[in-house]
Amino acid sequence: MTLSSKLAIVFLALAAAFAGGASAQTAGDPARGKTLYFDHGCYGCHGYQGQTGARNLVGTNSPIIAKPEVFLFFLRQRGNFLPMIPSTAMPRFSEKALPDPQALDIYAYIKTFKLDAPDVASIPVMGQIEASAARAYQAGR
């Protein structure tokens, strides 16, 4: 089965999920989700509050975070590749390793994240850094 045909199937499944307004899964419990978020190492790459690390989970309207069905679909993905060299890409979370109810608990916990980053202008230390960047270069110092 060639690469492109695989992609086609993926798109079809994705479209169906979006269009069909798949049945709303039962809501997860954020409290349990918090421990699972730690146990399965999600914090490892996404930070404890979903703001640091590789990929933001907060302040984004990506459907993976927007819809639980897409979130579940996304977790079960990537079963079919294992690059020979070590990788820190998004791992696959199989049903066995992370059953749906638990995945939805994690999903509920992720939904509690809020982007609380103040803007640059309101952070004094950032102002100092910018000022120093703007200063003329003195060789000796």
């Binding site: 992609l7 590789a54 990929r55 302040g59 459907p63 060299i85 070590p86």
Partner: protein
């Protein structure tokens, strides 16, 4: 590799995204400088920071489809590393100690997740330094007489553990070292022939190319490690072999090695000389396994011989307070049998590391003690010339069953009661000698009894009544703390005292005690570790491993606040040159500031107390310590001691 390869530095954001697509698109547009940084690095990727606006539709599609990299490998249902764990399980490997590294990520994942009871037999033991992992395998190997696994990460792992491997080789300690190799990842961590770096101080090594070869190599490695001359072996496992699909390949059955002993005729001749002797004696050196020790005891009891033992200087020797152990009623022995030791009329001496040193040392390092040129007589640790009549170059332990059988055949009724009578006399004489020996030792060891800093003899003496009825193992080298256990304690188990660091290397003690702690945890034993401060300071992370895995190790610091041997040598040197004896402490002492070992232990999560300067406080502290380790919690007591 251009000079600035090391200078590439990867931006934060990009490191994960880059990795996912790294393999597919390696072309770096702008000269993105990736810092080759970690033991397990990332693929280079453009370093532009990603703004935080919401991803558009195409990004989602790309994310979802996550275009797989060019080298697509189908889902592995039965990975090679699972079979490797199965092979280790069948050989009874209890532990795999390691400092984690990406070159054996597949094997680590299998150890942790494979099987109905994952992460048991072998259990993954987390160490903070590879040197500690190999020293733990040494401690375990000397206590149990069989190998466990130490996992090392590529070239760096082998280098980081080099001294510990050298000491396992010099001490002939059975150990299975697995070095992971990932030839496609960080180039500094791989090499064509990694094992070459340690070939001159390991017994055997292999670099299998396929999974079947790898499974066979693990089994052959175990055999080589446990066959005389026992020692550390290295198996290099490529990540491809660990990750490949095993399909329905069956794990081969393990065939244990056959070690040659005396043939029937020789056994009979020897049995006759033993039986006919009026006052036979058996000198017992270091055998290979506890089984060997049991058979040596059986032989001595059968023949009613008096015996000498090495139990007070190392493992796997004759129980030194056994009724037959001691000078015996009369010291004019008419026939002496040596088991791996002289002096003896007939000595069974198996091959030693020295016999294979030349074949292994392709680099021509020619280590002292293993090289052709004999070591000068003045050198400590040099073999002492000892009178041996006839040496039979066969493994003593392997010869014992045959010898025992031959003796039993020759035992007639009247020989049995003559032997019984002799045995009773020997037992009484030995007990008297024991009691006198202890009495004489105590009169000497009482000097400095109440002095502060605490005298070392006081430590060993206070410990004995508290551990006498425990199943204890003194795993720490004791010569720097006066070896007072040798006269005061009864060394009746194969693991009572695990001996000195085999090549005199400081830093071995902490790891060896933790390793003996692994064996102890499974068998309800406790470990006594009289820990010198210099030794502890090389890789103190062993304390965290003890806390993390609940190892029953009681560490009592012999805290003389110096590498004291060096201080004494330097004071002498300065004296010989007539200058600055009051500056000899520079570079040889741990002063200003003094190190607080209780605080260090607590930092690693190990309960501790001290520093204790008043000897009267020792007993209560030792009681608390023993109670703690019996409950599976390691404990450290800092004692400020007399230097020697």
């Amino acid at each position: 590799m251009s000079n600035d390869a090391g200078a590439r530095e990867l931006g934060r954001r990009a490191f994960l995204k880059g990795a996912a697509t790294g393999t597919a698109a390696m072309a770096t547009a702008a000269p993105g400088l990736a810092e080759a940084r970690a033991r397990t690095d990332e693929a280079a990727a453009p370093e532009a920071a990603v703004a935080a606006p919401p991803p558009n539709a195409s990004q989602i599609a790309r994310e979802l489809s996550a275009s797989p990299p060019a080298s697509l490998t189908p889902l592995v249902t039965r990975p090679g590393s699972d079979l490797m764990v199965e092979v280790l399980k069948q050989m009874g490997v209890e532990f795999a100690a390691a400092n984690p590294g990406s070159s054996f990520e597949a094997l680590q994942e299998s150890i942790v997740n494979y099987g109905d009871k994952p992460n048991t037999m072998p259990e993954f033991i987390t160490c903070l330094h590879e040197e500690t992992a190999v020293d733990m395998a040494s401690g375990y190997g000397r206590a149990e007489g069989k190998p466990m696994v130490a996992l090392l990460h590529g070239t760096l792992g082998l280098q980081h553990a080099a001294m510990a491997i050298y000491q396992a080789y010099y001490g002939g300690t059975p150990m299975l070292i697995i070095a992971g190799r990932d030839d496609g990842f960080i180039q500094a961590h791989t090499a064509d022939d990694m094992a070459a770096m340690v070939r001159s101080f390991t017994k055997w090594d292999a670099h299998p190319k396929t999974l079947p070869e790898a499974l066979a190599a693990l089994q052959e490695g175990y055999r080589q490690a446990t066959t005389a001359p026992t020692g550390p072996v290295v198996v290099v496992l490529d990540t491809e072999v660990q990750k490949e699909e095993a399909g329905d390949f069956a794990v081969p059955a393990y065939r244990p090695p056959v070690i040659a002993g005396l043939d029937a005729a020789a056994a009979r001749r020897l049995a006759e000389r033993l039986i006919n002797a009026k006052n036979p004696r058996i000198n017992v050196g270091r055998l290979r396994t506890p089984q060997g020790v049991r058979q040596a005891v059986q032989l001595a009891e059968l023949i009613g011989a008096s015996t000498s033992s090495q139990a007070t200087v190392g493992p796997m020797s004759f129980p030194n307070r056994h009724a037959s152990c001691g000078p015996g009623a009369a010291t004019d022995y008419d026939f002496t049998l040596g088991l791996e030791i002289g002096p003896a009329d007939v000595a069974l001496m198996g091959p030693t590391i020295a016999s294979i040193a030349a074949t292994r040392d392709k680099m021509g390092v020619a280590f002292g003690g293993l090289r052709a040129k004999p070591s000068p007589p003045t050198a400590p640790l040099a073999p002492m010339a000892v009178k041996i009549g006839e040496t039979i170059g066969l493994d003593a332990e392997a010869s014992l069953p045959g010898l025992i059988a031959a003796v039993q055949i020759l035992l007639t009724a009247e020989r049995r009661d003559a032997i019984a009578k002799r045995a009773a006399l020997t037992a009484a004489a030995n007990r008297k000698a024991n009691v006198e020996g202890v009495r004489k030792a105590l009169t000497v060891k009482r000097t400095g009894w109440n002095s502060s800093p605490v005298s070392l003899a006081r430590i060993y003496a206070e410990l004995w009544p508290l551990i006498e009825n425990e199943d204890w193992c003194l795993a720490s080298p004791s010569v720097l703390s006066g070896s007072h256990h040798r006269e005061l304690w009864a060394h009746n188990k194969p693991y009572s005292y695990l001996g000195l660091p085999p090549a005199g290397g400081i830093g071995y003690g902490a790891g060896a005690c933790a390793g003996a702690g692994l064996a102890a945890r499974e068998r309800g034993r406790i470990i006594i570790n009289i820990q010198t401060d210099g030794d502890m300071n090389y890789a103190p992370g062993a304390l965290w491993t003890e806390a993390h895995h609940g190892l029953p190790v009681l560490s009592i610091m012999h805290n003389n606040r110096a590498w004291h041997q060096e201080l004494m040598f330097l004071t002498f040197m300065a004296g010989a040159r007539g200058r600055g004896t009051d500056r000899a402490h520079i570079g040889s002492t741990l002063r200003n500031p003094f190190i607080d070992y209780r605080k260090m232990a607590e930092a690693y999560g190990v309960a501790g107390e001290g520093p204790i300067e008043d000897p009267a406080l020792l007993r209560a502290a030792f009681k608390r310590g023993i109670a703690s380790v019996k409950a599976g919690r390691p404990y450290l007591i800092d004692v400020i001691t007399q230097p020697r």
